[in-house]
Structures are given as C-alpha cells and as structure tokens.
C-alpha cells in the first residue's frame, strides 16, 4: 500500500480546535480593546467638556463685577456681560478716540458695547487714526462713540449673553440667537447646573459614564465662580 503525505483526521481536528481557540481569544481581545478604546474616548470627551466648561466660566467671571456684570441666574443658565478686551485711549479728536486695544478678539460693533466709567456705549469703528505707540500684543483701534473720552481713559469691551447648561452641553447664547454648543453633549442634566444662590456661587458639572463602563457613576466636579472685582459674594 502506498503511503500518502497529508493530514490525518485527528491532526485536522486538533488544528481546527487550536485555530478555534485562537480565533475566539483573538475576537474577544479585539472586541474588548474596541470597547476599551470607546470608553477611553468617551472619558476623554467628558474630561475635555468638563475642563472647557469649568475654565470658560471661571475665566469669564473672574474679571466681572458681581453686582454690575452678572444678572440673575437659574439652575441652567447664567446671564453675564462677557468682557472681550480693553482699550487705553491715547488720543481724541473730532469725536474719535484712538486707543491701544488688547483682548481675545477684535471689537465687533454689531454685538459689542463699550463700558466707559460704568456707562455702556454703542460704538463704530473708524479707519482714521493718529500715531499711538502700541505694546506687544496690542493693536491700534479708532472708536467713534457717543461720548467724549479723554486720553488715559480705559474702555472695556463687552457683549451680553448667557451660558446655558442644557441638553447635555454648555451653550452660549447672544441675544435671541440660538444656543451654540461649546462642548460635547455629555453632561447629565439632572446633576449639572448652577447653584440657587443669587448670584450663583458655584456650578456642578457631572458627565455621564460610558454605557460599557460598568460600575462607574457620574463624575461630579464643583467649580467656584469667583470674581476678583468683587461687588458681593463670592
């Protein structure tokens, strides 16, 4: 009888068994890793959203005057005058004030107002300018405002708006415009919001855990809303 090379039935069965075990382990590993990656990504999103919300609210309110700049708050909203920069007037002529500007963005007459000695003023921008030496980070801006300002005056630029903690995200709303989300929709509305004090003294932020992250509860963070300029507590 002639000998033939090849698998015997037991070898084939053993091979199939080993392959099955390896494939099962491999599939389980891939699924677990995929879930883990998903949870990690979700946690990163939650951390980022919490950080952005805490940093943004703290930063916006840090230079505010509690009594003058913060309107009444509700558990899910906080209306404020948000300051976008300041200008130091260096020259005035013909109703125009040339100023050294520094801030988070350029002035926008359509939505910003100027604060001059506690009076809010509408303004427009003019291209005409006189010489005015600026410092690093500053730029020259010419305002046409309905007041007479003097060289050396400090003008603060602000926009009115409200931060909302609704629909699982931090949102910013200017006037009657829609609420623009600033973070991922990841908060638990029931455990997220401003405190009941007037003005609000802190905000609770709670992000939902990933559904696959068994055993994890919400991750709470309480951030104090401190204003360096005072006005009243906090």
């Amino acid at each position: 009888m002639m000998m033939r090379s090849g698998f015997t039935l037991p070898e084939a069965l053993a091979g199939l068994l080993v392959s099955g075990i390896l494939m099962t382990a491999l599939t389980a590993t891939i699924v677990t890793q995929a879930r883990l990656a998903n949870v990690v990504a979700h946690t990163a999103d939650a951390t980022e959203a919490t950080w952005i919300t805490a940093a943004l609210l703290s930063d916006e309110l840090r230079m505010a005057h509690v009594a003058a700049d913060r309107a009444a708050s509700s558990p899910d909203s906080l209306a404020i005058r948000a300051f976008r920069g300041m200008a130091i007037v260096c020259d005035t002529a013909d109703g125009r004030a040339t100023a050294r500007w520094t801030g988070t963005r350029s002035p926008e007459p359509d939505k910003d107002s100027l604060l001059h000695e506690e009076r809010a003023l509408a303004f427009s921008l003019s291209a005409m300018s006189v010489d005015c030496a600026v410092l690093p980070g500053e730029k020259r801006v010419v305002f046409e405002a309905d007041t007479t300002v003097r060289p050396g005056d400090v003008l603060l630029l602000f926009e009115r708006g409200a931060y909302h903690l609704t629909d699982r995200a931090l949102r910013w709303r200017v006037g009657a415009a829609g609420r623009q989300p600033l973070t991922a929709e990841i908060f638990v509305d029931a455990h997220t919001g401003f405190d009941a004090a007037q003005p609000a003294q802190w905000v609770d932020l709670a992000s939902a855990p990933h559904p696959w992250a068994r055993g994890q509860g919400t991750v709470p963070l309480r951030t104090t809303l401190r204003s360096l300029n005072g006005g009243s507590a906090p």
Partner: protein, 349 residues
C-alpha cells in the same frame, strides 16, 4: 518535515491588531497627559501673573508712581522672591495700570492687569489755601488768632516748600465773618474771598484711605513700644511736640464718619471729620484738618483748616498756616495708597 499551515500567520495578525489598539490607547493617554500639562501651565502662568500684580500693589509707594510721566512705563521690581515680572504704566494723574507677566520675554503679553487709582494731592491742596477756609459763617472769638503769614512758624526743613504768606481766612462771597475783640486775623490778605468748591469726591477718597476711623470722644497722644512707634494704636496720632521721637514721622490719616470731640491731647497728620469737630482743652495738632463744621476751643493748630459745610465755624484758639506741615501731612503713606475702582482687575487675555 515541512507542513503548510496558517496558525502562525493568524497569530501574528492578531498580535498586530492588539499592538495597534494598545498604540491607539497610548496615544489617547499621551494626548490627555499633554493637554493636562498645558492646562496646568496656563493656570500657573495666570496665577503667577496675578501674584506679580499683587506684589507690586503691596509695595506701591516704594515704586514712586507719582514720579512717572503720563504715558510712561517702568518695570516694577518687587521684594517677593521668585516673583514674576510686572510693569507700571502711568495713564494720567492718579491713574495707573499694573501688568503682570508670566515670563521675562520682551514680547511677552500680560496675563493680569489692574487699574490703580491714587489720590491726586493737588485735589487736597485745592481745598485749602488759607490758615482757615470756611464755607459757612465764621466766628473768631475774643483773643483768638488766625495767621496766614507763616511768620510764627518754626524754621522750615529742607523738604519744605518756600514759605509764602497766604490769607488768614477765606470764605465764600456774602458769607458773614464775625471777629471778636482782641482777636487777630493776619495774612495776605487777612480775609480773602473764594467761591465754594465741590469736595465730595476727594473727601470720599480720603475717608477710604484712612489709617484709623474714630467716633465720639478722642484724646490722642503719641505712644511707642519696644523702641518703635505704636502705629496700630488708633489713639496715636503721631508726635508734633518731640516727646516721643519714635513717632515724629508718624502722620496718620484719621477719619471720623460723624461728630468728633477731642478732649485734649496732641497729634499730627490729616484729620477728616464728616460731622462737627469740637476741640476742647489743650489740644495741639499739626497738619491738615477737614471738617464739616468746627468749634475750636483754646487749641493750637499749625497747618491748614478747611470747613466744607454751611454750618458755623467758631475759633477761640490759634490757627497758623504752615505750608511745611501741610506738605508733611499730604506726604504721609496713607495718602499714597492705591484704591480700587469698581473694575480693579481688567480683562487682558
């Protein structure tokens, strides 16, 4: 014997997938750690900039901001160890911006800034201008002396301005001035006329800057302990008489929100009384007195007195103008303190 098979390839592929997943997780973790580090550095930069500003404010008179011309800037050196850099910019008389930086680079942007106001001393000088300047009816009692000539003042120190004769008494036009027998009103001219001027803002600032607030009855006297003037004692108004040398340069700013009765004692500096100031007995004061109304018994005042209310000012003692004592009082540390506006911290980011 060589046999074909696929187990090794499958295992290697599996390992590749696992490594890719691990690498992905590591990338996320690394990104998070980096992001956290950036956030920490941002927070530290902001806080160190704010600390630099606070360090400048804590040592404000030492930076001599009054010597800065409008529009000029100076780097402010603080005594705080490892303090971040800061600078002072003069915006105009009595207005400054203090900026704090996170690093010393020339192009660095400030991360904190404070708008600082200080008392403009000329606004106080503008309230004076005579030995006694009164807004209401003035009664100079028998034997009293009001002297604007500075002739009786002790020799001026080196830091004193040139001594020139001023009016002894100034009052608004039409306001009655009654001078008793043997009373003496001296000056150039003895009695001048001046319009009433607004003083509310300056007085409000002075009240806010005061070293001590007093009410009721006071009997000031100098006091020292362990060889140092007890400046924290609200009854210690400095030593104009040389009995307690430790307090010869203590020139406090004293604020009385209501009426004040001084029943003897001595002091120097600036005294602001928002009600009636009554001085009885042997009171000796050198410096500036600002009061809504005044009843001066046999007391002696060297410097300048101003009453800013419509009530009667009655003088039965001695008031001598001394520009030197006025300037000493106005040069006191309390009057150089920065005070906060409603928007003390400015939005710079």
């Amino acid at each position: 014997m060589s046999r074909p098979g696929s187990v090794l390839i499958v295992v290697l592929l599996g390992l590749l997938v696992i490594e890719a997943l691990i690498a992905g997780s590591l990338a996320v973790a690394t990104s998070e750690v980096t992001s956290y580090g950036v956030r920490q550095r941002q927070l530290q930069s902001r806080l160190s900039s704010e600390s630099a500003v606070r360090a400048v404010l804590a040592d404000w008179p030492a930076h001599r901001p009054d010597t800065l011309a409008s529009g000029s800037r100076v780097r402010a050196l603080t005594s705080a160890p490892d303090s971040s850099p800061a600078e002072i910019e003069a915006l105009g008389p009595g207005r400054f911006i203090v900026r704090g930086f996170a690093d010393t680079a020339a192009a660095a942007r400030p991360l904190a800034a404070v708008l600082v106001n200080t008392l403009v001393r000329d606004s106080v000088r503008a309230l004076l201008g005579a030995a006694l300047r009164s807004d209401g009816v003035t009664i100079v009692g028998a034997g009293a002396t009001i002297d604007g000539t500075q002739g009786a003042v002790a020799p001026a120190r080196e830091d004193c301005p040139p001594e020139t004769a001023l009016p002894g008494l100034m009052a608004p036009p039409g306001i009655e001035v009654l001078i008793g027998p043997s009373a003496s009103v001296l000056g150039a001219p003895p009695i001048g006329v001046v319009a009433t001027s607004g003083s509310g803002a300056t007085l409000e600032i002075l009240g806010a800057l005061a070293d001590h607030a007093v009410t009721g009855v006071a009997s000031p006297r100098p006091g020292a302990a362990n060889g140092e003037c007890a400046v924290a004692d609200p009854a210690n108004w400095g030593d104009p008489d040389g009995t307690t040398p430790e307090c010869s340069d203590h020139l406090p700013l004293i604020y009385a929100p209501g009426d004040l009765h001084i029943a003897g004692g001595s002091g120097q500096g600036t005294l602001l009384v928002m009600g009636e100031l009554r001085m009885d007995g042997a009171v000796h004061f050198q410096g500036v007195i600002l009061a809504r109304s005044l009843s001066l018994g046999p007391a002696s005042i060297r410097g300048a007195v101003r009453t800013f209310g419509p009530d009667t000012a009655r003088i039965d003692g001695r008031v001598e103008y001394s520009g030197c004592d006025v300037e000493r009082a106005l040069g006191a540390p309390a009057l150089a303190r920065p005070f906060r506006s409603p928007r003390w911290w400015l939005p710079v980011r």
